[in-house]
Amino acid sequence: MSTASPQIAPSDSITEDEQIGVFSAILVMIGRNKTLVAGFSLILLIGLFSLFGTLLIDPERTEVGAGKPAQSPSSEHLLGTDQQGRDVFADLAYGTPASLIIGLIAGVIGVGIGTALGFLAGYYRGYWDTFISLTTDVFLTIPALLVLVVIASMTTVLSIEAMGLLIGFFAWMGPARTIRSQVLSLRDRSYVDVAKFNGVRDIEIIWRELVPTLMPYIAASFVGTVAAAILASIGLSALGLGPQNEPSLGLTIYWSVTYGALIREMWWWFGPPIVVIVMLFIGLFLMTAGLDQVSNPRLRTSV
Amino acid sequence: MTTTKDVPLRVENLEVHYHTRKGPVKAVDGVSFELQKGERLGLVGESGSGKSTIALSLMVAHKEPAKIEGGKIFLNGTDMLTLNDNEVRRKRLSEIAMVPQGALNSLNPVMRVKDQMIDGLKAHGVSKSQDEFADFIAELLTRVGLDVAVAEMYPHELSGGMKQRVTIALSISMNPSVIIADEPTSALDVVVQRQIVQTLREAQDRIGAATILIGHDMGLMAQFATRIGIMYAGRLVEIGPTKEIFNNPKHPYTQMLISSLPNTRGKRRLSGIPGITPSLLNPPPGCVFHTRCPQATERCMIEIPKLVAEENGHSWACHLYTEAKSEEEVTA
């Protein structure tokens, strides 16, 4: 397994530079790869859309009865209205950040827990490893989505944040596994031994030596987890099991399917959310592919 | 006039360039030599001298960005460079075989040894029954000093030396005219190295295949080769019988090479060769060695010395010896 970022050399003394080390590692990494930049730009675009959308558009337009129902796009309603009178464009503008937030929350929790567990298992091995690996394997067998479906059906009112937390709870397994195998291969490198012989504490070794080197993998896990979380959240919402009181992309799809937008050929209703979702996932995918290429230089062939 | 039967391999003015973004790197710059039937030629040189590139080119197995820019490679009378892909493929293993670097990964890890030995034969149209193949493989393995049971094993069950022996057995399986061994012992420990070279020698001797052993270990060369060629920066600077090279090196580079070998008789400071290998992107004009040569003259900086055959089949390319004959040498 190749390690990335050859410019980040192991530090031989504990100085203030380490913080810069982690951040500059991220920036260098992002700028270096075309695929990564493409993906990142796409996500940024969507993010900006959400940001300006929420700032410029009146949230009341997402309410039922904001306009006349089932209108096709016009100058007043850029993307028309749905069967219940909601302005579709406003819905989209407010729904997109909801999905993004869920993804971020779940991603942070998933990668946070996963990375921590991965490091514990990989670095200390022994009983830690056995226990953590066992737990990871058990949870991997359980189809998270199904459990989420069941749990989501249990709860009556689900907020955006709660959904993020819930999904994050099932998202740590992937990162844990990836990070663990990476740490296992890294911990036997000489520079770790040197640090140990110099009396550097374990936690410092992990934070200052291993984390920067593993940044590409952590980043890749993060993006992957966010993508999976958004996928799950949209899926759940599309089934009607997500937050019902706030607009979200999946919810829009749920309503459109329930009210037969397909049969009524109300393309302006079910089309745009699908387009946004597809763009979102393509962006996330490109980022994952780009990060993969950064970690494994051999993949840097054609595309 | 020697017939092709006596000279299974003849290389004429081979030019192989690597096309990099900064321009062409002349990895092999006009190399010519002949291989007599059954002889063992050792090709020596430091890293980057072009010896591995030559090895690959002889089988037309070189990869981008390397390109053969000129010259001819006559294998049993046919110029390999005029053949199409399929014809080249057919000559591999049957007429010219390769024993690759002693990497631990040369054998397919998911195939049994016998299957890997057989599929090469089958690809060349050899058809035998199961039992005939089994006997054939067994005989080959014994010849390289391996137990017959190895045939059923997977590569990871074998040691590095055993794996190399398998590749040697593979190379002789179709009685090729030429065997190329490209640093076959580099990944093995010293004791095993000698054994492998010995095995190679016996194997090729038995079938009378001309062999090129490529490497940089002069000790192994002394053990194995009948003739030795010295490569430097893509050019062949000296070539001759082993004894001659060791006892009577003519080219300054060879001389420094030989004298840098540690000697168990008598005490002496170890000497090296000062300077570094020149860039092959922009080789120095004239003799490519002149920048490091303690005996360089004005002429050396301008004119490229030609490989001139002298007595005892010993040739070298150096102006120091041809000064007197310079007028006669300049022919069209």
Binding site: L134, D137, M154, V257, L286, L299, T301 | M59, R89
Partner: protein, 334 residues
């Protein structure tokens, strides 16, 4: 393959069952509402029953379903029942057996899933392998971005698009269900064609959604494999391009892909749930959806347990069989 490995693996399997079973038991009971009560009130509302003795009825039925017992007792009897493969009776489809309902829906899911997954895996992998081969025609290589796009689109969205495209806009295929209402599933020509027609869209969306994953994964694996030294020796032996590609590159790269299949298993099952719901395909996933809508937690439990056990068994089988096909793994410790 050592006994130690087999035992360890089996032990893991049992552990999964226990943990999953426990979670499975607890989750539906997190809610306070008594499903019996709900259901009975539903009946009452439908049929205009007298609500006077409702409490008694609730109590009686609760006893029948064992819901009045303390939690730990329910837990024990839960396991006792499972051991006897008794999943209880469905609340929503009363008096039908949970087991019966699952078995009724199972063939549809198994059929759909197996076919779709195997197709996606094989086609995706071979295609991905071909993409990695340097001599593949450039036109083929241009398909890589399209493949990437397909991977990016969530499968249920593809399903919706499929329905719109082929069932509404250009109505050549049915929009849902497994069979037309006027045909009974049987082994005659008409029925089989009907079943196949209904299965095309759902299968297709599953295949399209996962093909990118297998393709790109295989491509990555191939690139790694092609960099190995034994590939060079294969060339030096004078083997044909085709043979080197198939027997040396694809064969070696394919094996780790199978591990990927194992890891993807839980994901694939989850995916099929959503696809079934969108297409109203009466498989196990759709059944789960119905169970949730009716708050039938016995059915939910049964399905969840069943699915987890099925996945557990498949993973166990894959883990035990894999060393047999890949000699590299055979001699290494698990």
């Amino acid at each position: 393959m050592t006994i130690e490995f087999v035992l360890k693996r089996f032990g893991l399997f049992l552990l999964i069952i226990v943990v999953a079973g426990t979670i499975n038991f607890l989750v539906p009971r997190l809610r306070d509402t008594n499903p019996i009560e709900q259901r009975l009130y539903e009946f009452a509302a439908q049929g205009g029953l007298n609500v006077a003795h409702m409490d008694e009825m609730v109590e009686n039925y609760s006893k029948k379903f064992g819901l009045d017992q303390p939690l730990w007792k329910q837990y024990l009897s839960y396991w006792a029942d499972l051991a006897r493969l008794d999943f209880g009776k469905s609340i929503a489809f009363f008096p039908a057996d949970v087991k019966a309902e699952i078995l009724r829906a199972l063939p549809w899911t198994v059929g759909l899933l197996t076919v779709a997954t195997i197709m996606a895996f094989l086609v995706g992998s071979l295609f991905g392998a071909w993409l990695a081969w340097p001599r593949a025609p450039r036109v083929v290589k241009a398909l890589v971005p399209i493949l990437m796009t397909l991977t990016a689109i969530p499968y249920y969205l593809l399903g919706i698009l499929m329905i719109f495209g082929f069932a509404i806009f250009w109505p050549i295929l049915p929009a849902g269900g497994a069979v037309s209402y006027n045909i009974t599933p049987a082994f005659n020509y008409e029925a089989i064609v009907d079943i196949l027609r209904h299965a095309i869209l759902p299968a297709f969306s599953l295949v399209l959604a996962s093909i990118g994953f297998w393709g790109l994964g295989m491509r990555g694996m191939m690139i790694t494999t092609m960099g190995e030294d034994y590939m060079k020796l294969a060339e030096y032996k004078g083997l044909s391009d085709k043979r080197i590609f198939l027997r040396y590159a694809v064969r070696n790269a394919m094996l780790p892909q199978i591990t990927g299949l194992a890891i993807q298993m839980a994901f694939i099952v989850s995916g099929s749930v959503l696809v079934e719901v969108i297409f109203a395909y009466p498989g196990v996933g759709f059944l789960l959806f119905e169970a949730i809508s009716a708050n039938d937690f016995l059915l939910m439990q049964g399905i969840l347990m069943f699915v987890i056990v099925a996945i557990g068994i498949s993973l166990l089988v894959i883990d035990l069989l894999y060393p047999l096909i890949d000699p590299r793994i055979r001699y290494r410790k698990a």
